[in-house]
Symmetry: C2
Subunit: 410 residues, 2 copies
Amino acid sequence: MALPVSPLAPESFPELPPIEGVTLATGKAGIKYKDRTDVCLFEFAKPAAIAGVMTRSLTASAPVDWCRKNLKGGKARAILINAGNANAFTGSAGVAAVKLCAKGLVETLGCKTTETFLASTGVIGEPLPAQKIVDALARLHEAQRADAWAEAAKAIMTTDTYPKGASRMAVIGDKTVTINGIAKGSGMVAPDMATMLSFIVTDANISPEVLQALLARGADRSFNCMTVDGDTSTSDTLLLAATGTAGNKKIIDKADPDLRLFRRALDDLLMDLALQVVKDGEGAEKLVTIKVSGAASARAARRIGLTIANSPLVKTAIAGEDANWGRIVMAVGKAGEKADRDKLSISMGGVVLAEKGERAPDFDEAPVAQHMMGRDIQIEVDVGVGRGRATVWTCDLTHRYIDINADYRS
Amino acid sequence: MALPVSPLAPESFPELPPIEGVTLATGKAGIKYKDRTDVCLFEFAKPAAIAGVMTRSLTASAPVDWCRKNLKGGKARAILINAGNANAFTGSAGVAAVKLCAKGLVETLGCKTTETFLASTGVIGEPLPAQKIVDALARLHEAQRADAWAEAAKAIMTTDTYPKGASRMAVIGDKTVTINGIAKGSGMVAPDMATMLSFIVTDANISPEVLQALLARGADRSFNCMTVDGDTSTSDTLLLAATGTAGNKKIIDKADPDLRLFRRALDDLLMDLALQVVKDGEGAEKLVTIKVSGAASARAARRIGLTIANSPLVKTAIAGEDANWGRIVMAVGKAGEKADRDKLSISMGGVVLAEKGERAPDFDEAPVAQHMMGRDIQIEVDVGVGRGRATVWTCDLTHRYIDINADYRS
């Protein structure tokens, strides 16, 4: 099934400069796809500090369990990723597959078992042919390059229609540091579960504990505010590794003022990647930004925003370019968070459609209709009870979502 | 937009016999639709006992507020319903519209304001042209008939593709009693909120308090276990009226043993109507029954079942006739209820696909593939932690759902 590239795709893959201390390679293990790369290996010359945000699914995949365990050590020498098979709900065979891959990494790289990180994405419930991945390891090890980021972003794709990457620079003390990241979506993308897969590397010298705090906070404002279909992957994995090769004084305190610019750059990169994932939501024709204000708390605002963002009726109205704000009222009503129906106001594209609990008198529908025909839909909702605010992002629900998902496994 | 009739529709509208003490009439008020009836009036010759289950939406419509208030009195002389406009999120104009309709009823029927019940379904946020309804009241009052149930079921439709009705008989003491009901769906159908609209009348003599207990319990096992798209209407209204004309000794205790057969008949009728609503879910091609067992509680089982039932990925897989049980694993994992991944088992069409946390070895895919091609999809999930059970119903997510909802308001 060849999918057309999302109309929301960026014009090209960005420039991701080499980062000292990490190399990458991709290969064809033939797990599911033909004639394309499906495995990717990140190697760290020396143990890198590592942090991770993993799915909260109670039916998490075997590789997620593996990463969670190894994250406790805080050190990484390898991240091995495959596309086409999620190694989820594969029972003892799944655990054996993970161990086989890790053993292959230990033998090929001469690293410790606890320094190996694994991620798998694709079909759930099919046994992973791990030996095919292990057989590819020697070639992947030999083919390592510092400039293979674009290839890596391609190798981890499943129903993605374009590779996703981003890069940022920042200054820590007197050193310039770089952050590179890649990500893949595009279904089963839902909040509180990071994206499906995203891997970020920096040359900054930061302790694993501080990295973890930075990543958790950043994910909460980016990946955890995005939703495509409200479904939660068993495999969501977001890893951040720091090689420390930039030579800055090691950061061991998350409140260190020297972190300010780095934190901002990391947050910006996470948001960039998360938006790329939403823009490649299965069947997406429009990016929808929903700003909720006036909620009882920021958390309540996010929940209201996500309820709007996950409503099939809202999403299909947007696909139909219909400013059907009645469905937004409905979604606010079902979110289960405090809202004052008679103070509710709703804007689209900057035009107030409803205020104080009813249709705005004599609003001009023409600019709203024009706005709905665009790619970038802006919705603002004030629920009239407090000062909580949040912004969430989603895409519309189109025929292509059905095309893609009614026939994914076959 | 003429919609094709759902392939899951019953062959014909059932026989609904006259019930002494209630008459009905329908008319064309021209609220939104052309060339079809859009208003319906139920008249009770004497005040009937009445009970109701209303939406839990926090942005409930003006008629829902009205019914909730009048339900406290427990007596009904009239139920007035319109299709095409929900009179929801219409602020003070909505309240005025409700009062105007009630005033019209009081003047036409000579009843009390507290005995009037109103329901509106259709677009949210547009002012309801209530005067058009009031103008139709005299004709509706004159046209009252005991045998207009099928016409009533048609007049309250919106995107429904067929009228929904059911009738049951029961015995209370030495008297035979009848229960008739009509309902309409078909989008914004989600649990804990009844269906969109359903009106049930019996000639049994039962107090409003007992009726309320019976209805709440019955709705919890029928309408509240159904979902089409997870969206919750602002207007959901389920009313049950009892004329008392059957002449049975009045039931004033919900534990009265004489209620046994009536309760069973009512539950059966509610389930019948609820299934008719799901089978007319927007774009439905298949009815999906999901039985969850092994949960921590019945409530947990229902929540897991509804999470499966609302998952776009599960629903599109079923539309594609793909026994993609991996997506069921995913949905169990995101439900937020206790589940043991390594004890999980999943069957479709009676064939075990997965057990003890992995794919069942050597299961025969042919009968499952055959089952998925049918209209009636059976899914059984055991989550392996307790004894809680629940059954929920939904439909698949097809292209027609998008067709219908991307262009409803226009």
